[in-house]
């Protein structure tokens, strides 16, 4: 049955993906919800939130706000907060409530810009999509707003910071798609720097994770972009169209602290039919490593966006829990690398299982 989950809890939703992209950029992030969504985003899907004070707010919608469509009250609250809180932009992140009442995000965005004089990003996530969809929207809006999009003048972009493709800095690489949700909860940015330095990119710009809004505004300066998750692809394509910046779709497995352990056990995969389940950029990279070491046949499956160009023959886009159970039952895989949460649905699997954490699946316990 479509949508029925008997064993596997829901994965990180689109609103969490959007918030993850924007979390570190110094904006005032307003989750357009009654309270529960903001709590789930922060308390479950955003590990950085526990260690830092982020300006993430819930709109605190109540039934009559939704029924009467009191957008003016929402804007009033946002304007009031902007006077009290230092922020460089406002981002509004959607949830199921505005989706049901068909909130006019563009109108709210215009009102916020007019009344605060600040750039505003509107993400129309609705809580039914998955995190990568929210990330995709957020990355795209972010670069369009601050790096020289059609509306960038109005959004406060500094035109003087834009450069032509000829002015790109050598050795400077933009990394798009880095969020905890795309990795395993823990991540090792130093290892990523090392990997990039080995291919002569010694000045990485980790958008959304270390690099601030000023770096987003200077996105045209980088020599190349590396997209480490499917959610970043649309933005990278836009940057390519806009500035001619080439991009590569790749996420080095070394960014996962647990990769060393898996690498040490790689020989166990020899002669086995292997299934790797993760987000596509990382899963593809792991496949390359396995094939290079063992020459075993490897299939990639993902619950999230699968870019057709990056898919190999036989790769699988998972949608329903039943798809997953059937795949494991009938696929004939001797080894599976996947998040431990997925084991719940296939307790009878007899092959070799290697845990490959994916934060968007198993999240982080807080109790």
């Amino acid at each position: 049955m479509k949508g029925l989950r008997l064993y596997i809890p829901p994965f990180a939703p689109d609103q969490s993906g959007a918030a993850a992209v924007l979390c570190e950029l110094g904006g005032l992030i307003v989750v357009l919800d009654a309270g529960g969504c903001a709590g789930n985003i922060c308390g479950f899907d955003e590990p950085r939130w526990f260690g830092s004070r982020s300006a993430i707010y819930s709109a605190g919608l109540r039934d009559m706000d939704a029924i009467l469509g009191r957008d003016d009250r929402l804007v009033e609250k946002i304007v009031k907060a902007c006077k009290e809180i230092s922020g460089s932009f406002v981002a509004v992140v959607g949830t199921p409530v505005p989706a049901v009442i068909a909130t006019d995000y563009r109108a709210i965005g215009r009102m916020i810009r007019k009344k605060t004089g600040m750039p505003a990003i509107m993400i129309d996530s609705n809580g039914t999509g998955l995190y990568d969809e929210g990330e995709e929207k957020a990355w795209l809006e972010l670069f369009k707003t601050f790096a020289g999009g059609e509306d960038s003048g109005r959004e406060g972009k500094n035109e003087s910071e834009m450069q032509s493709p000829e002015e790109k800095a050598s050795g400077r690489i933009g990394v798009i798609g880095l969020t905890p949700l795309n990795l395993g909860g823990d991540y090792d940015l130093d290892s990523l720097k090392t990997v990039l330095a080995q291919v002569h990119f010694d000045r990485p710009v980790f958008y959304g994770m270390g690099a601030g809004l000023s770096e987003v505004a200077r996105a045209s300066h980088v020599e190349k972009n590396m997209v480490v998750a499917p959610g970043g692809l649309a933005a990278a394509r836009w940057l390519k169209d806009r500035f001619g910046t080439p991009y590569e779709f790749y996420c080095p497995p070394e960014i996962l602290p647990e990769w060393k352990g898996i690498e040490n056990r790689m020989a166990e995969l020899t002669g086995r039919k292997v299934l790797v389940v993760h987000q596509q950029a990382l899963a593809n990279a792991i496949r390359m490593k396995i094939i290079a070491t063992t020459d075993s046949p490897v299939t990639v499956a993902s619950w999230f966006q699968m870019d057709r160009k990056e898919m190999a023959e036989g790769d699988i886009a998972l949608k329903e829990e039943e798809d997953w159970i059937r795949l494991v039952d009938r696929g004939g895989y001797d080894a599976i690398l996947a998040d431990p949460l997925l084991k719940r649905a296939v307790p009878g699997y007899q092959g070799l299982w290697m845990d490959l954490s994916h934060f968007a699946l198993s999240g982080k316990g807080i109790v």
Partner: protein, 438 residues
């Protein structure tokens, strides 16, 4: 650039303003809601303690089907990791078309049937939890539950996780309490049987309330969390009266009074020892008898005096994320001779009884709202507390002695007060602060 500061108001100022003029900063509906670990219990009630989902599973042998967009079920992974919950949650995830058209409703009976079939040990009840989307769609979930119940032959109950109605007449945590007692059917009353309503976990085993009730002839004291099976849960219908220990259970008690003819008496969790004693006297009066609580009263009094003797007039910082009503606890501590530098809580009308007295004893006590946007700038260097009470207060003072004081098992009465000071002493010692370890 001027330093940004968190908004606060002193107890004196708030008392003078009165409940008619509570500043906007202390009224959650008038500003954006700040999201920090200190507000998690508000923003994501299901993530900590008993939210609607966990509470909805209070009936022994029940399971839950969450019918909602994926985002609403996300934090349930945490609950699943808690003991006993991993096999009790199921999901029917709504897509974009569902949330607009409501077509998901047609699937519910089949989904309940699939859940029932997949379980080796059959459930006693299936709870269907729905969220804001169905609140806006105006879903008649009672009807859907009847249809599902016809299909599987066991009770199916609605459970409303409507965050949108949080400050309404019947918020989700009130509704869920009514839901979980709604399966009780009229039975012959037993004069020696009493129910305790209000919490989803029991009182501490040594709570004097059990002994006091037994001392006046009560033989069976039932709490839903101590019911070993569904039959014992159904036996709650034989109670002579219900004791309501949390105001959020009042609706449920009224419902039981109407349906089953079980009257109720409401008691409050208090930390002021004289008020605890007074409450027991009034309780006894209502029953036409007198409780002999002297033994517990003296023990609690001694515990307070011993603690004060060891630590002196130390300073407390009190949050609302604990097993206490923040303003009542603050007043109790001030009356015992301690200091309270700050309270993190949005005041309700009822709290002004305490706020006026706090203002008299400690006019400069600062009152902050966890939910107010400027709490982003709360600077702990402004306040020096010796000990913090509550998850929220502990977040603001991460390095000091602190107790969350928020265990599932509930403190109450004199023993609650004794355990409170026991815990405070323990964490103060752990933080290297004075007194002898007893």
């Amino acid at each position: 650039m001027t330093k940004k500061e968190a908004y606060y108001i002193t107890a004196k100022e708030l008392s003078q303003a009165g409940k008619e003029k509570i500043p906007d900063q202390l009224v959650s509906g008038r500003h954006l809601i700040y999201s920090s670990p200190a507000t998690l219990a508000f923003n994501s009630p299901g993530a900590q303690g008993f939210g609607v989902k966990r509470a909805g599973l209070a009936i022994p042998g029940s399971v839950m089907l969450l019918v909602a967009p994926g985002c609403c079920g996300r934090n349930t992974t945490i609950l699943s990791e808690l003991g006993g919950y991993s096999d009790r949650f199921f999901y029917l995830l709504m897509d974009e078309t569902d949330i607009v058209t409501g077509r998901h409703l047609k699937k519910i009976p089949e989904a309940v049937s699939r859940v029932y079939d997949c379980l080796t040990k059959k459930p006693s009840v299936v709870m269907i939890c729905i969220t804001c989307v169905d609140a806006l769609l105006g879903t008649d979930m009672e009807r859907m539950c009847r249809k599902a119940s016809d299909r599987v032959g066991i009770p199916v109950l609605p459970c409303y996780m409507y965050a949108l109605t949080r400050e309404g007449r019947k918020p989700p945590m009130v509704h869920v309490r009514q839901s979980i007692y709604s399966l009780l059917e009229p039975r012959k009353k037993k004069s020696s049987s009493v129910n305790i309503l209000g919490h989803f976990a029991p009182l501490t085993d040594d709570c004097e309330l059990y002994d006091l009730l037994r001392s006046v002839g009560v033989k069976k004291i039932r709490e839903i969390s101590r019911c070993g099976d569904y039959e014992e849960y159904l036996a709650m219908a034989e109670a002579n009266f219900n004791l309501v220990l949390n105001p959020e259970a009042r609706f449920a008690a009224v419902d039981l009074q109407k349906r089953l003819g079980i009257p109720y008496i409401e008691l409050r969790r208090l930390y002021q020892i004289d008020k605890i004693r007074n409450q027991y006297a009034l309780f006894g009066g209502a029953l036409g008898l007198q409780f002999d609580d002297r033994e517990w009263y003296l023990a609690a009094k001694k515990r307070v005096e011993d603690f004060y003797g060891k630590f002196g007039p130390i300073t407390f910082s009190i949050g609302e994320g604990c097993n206490a009503q923040a303003f009542e606890l603050a007043l109790a501590l001030l009356r015992y001779g301690f200091k309270v530098c700050e309270i993190f809580a949005d005041p309700s009308d009822e709290d002004f009884i305490y706020i006026k007295k706090i203002a008299d004893l400690s006019p400069d006590t600062r009152i902050y709202s966890n939910l107010e946007p400027t709490m982003l700038y709360y600077d702990l260097s402004d306040e020096k507390a010796d000990i913090t009470i509550g998850k929220d207060a502990s977040y603001y003072h991460p390095d000091g002695a602190s107790t969350e004081w928020s265990d599932d098992v509930q403190p109450f009465g004199y023993t609650g007060l004794i355990h409170f000071f026991d815990t405070c002493e323990k964490v103060l010692h752990a933080a290297g602060k004075g007194g002898d370890i007893s």
